[in-house]
Amino acid sequence: MGYSTREPRVHLEIGSRLENVELVQIAVEASLQQLAIEEEVSNQIGTAVREAVANAIKHGNRSDANKQVSVDFEILGNEIVIEVKDEGVGFDPKQVPSPLEPENLLKPNGRGILLIRRFMDRVEYDFQSERGTALIMRKHVELPLRNSDRQEEEEE
């Protein structure tokens, strides 16, 4: 058994400025550190969040500082679930060219979604959300048992 839904939830709202990407990554990695998640996994999740927030700012909100990006982070069972929402009009992920195709290999951009997909287990988009686009990312993690969980298990 791992952490349950009563465990940490984090909600962040940021203006669409690139310097805020750093803040979100720091906040998410600090939360993961508190959960004693191994550093490599924490870095992968932090990088995925950074890429998602950067895309939300640049492509979703088109760097309009009046538009917000929200980040929700929670633990569901042994899964980290992170939702990044922007106020953009959405896009068709199938139309995003693969940066691994030979003709795209030397392009300076277009690798963010690839990194998100590689570092997280599941990635979904929700274009029906009430404001803009939501990117929902999930990753299975090994969470150490807390003392209270151990007690519950022993009682069972």
């Binding site: 750093e22 890429e51 290999l105 392009k107 690839l114």
Partner: protein, 112 residues
């Protein structure tokens, strides 16, 4: 942040430190490469040993630097990749593009 540059046997060695990420270090890398090229550098080696974090923007700057230098008839190679940078170069398949070295002497010799 200005990226330090030094020279060894006709090769310009750039040594970024810390982050090469969107808004932090990516522009500095671009400027350092352009400055080196404008000063006539043909052979550029980027030593990434002290880089702690790189993201898709940072990788994009490495690719742009490679393109700039090779279009001008020069060579750009990478030295001392930290594991995190190595991972990202593998995922993005850029290992097939860049020459990567663990030893400065070997890297310098490869430009001959």
């Amino acid at each position: 942040m200005k990226i330090p540059a030094r020279h060894n046997s006709g090769v310009t060695i750039l040594e970024p430190k810390g982050k090469i990420t969107i808004g932090v270090g990516d522009v500095a890398l671009r400027e350092a490469v352009h400055e080196a090229v404008d000063a006539g550098a043909q052979n550029i080696l980027i030593n990434l040993q002290e880089v702690t974090t790189i993201d898709s923007s940072g990788i994009g700057e490495l690719v742009a630097a490679y393109t700039t230098v090779t279009k001008g008839g020069g060579n750009l190679k990478l030295l001392n990749l930290p594991p995190k940078v190595q991972d990202i170069l593998q995922i993005t398949q850029l290992f097939t593009v860049f020459d990567v070295f663990d030893s400065e002497d070997e890297a310098i010799a490869s430009f001959d």
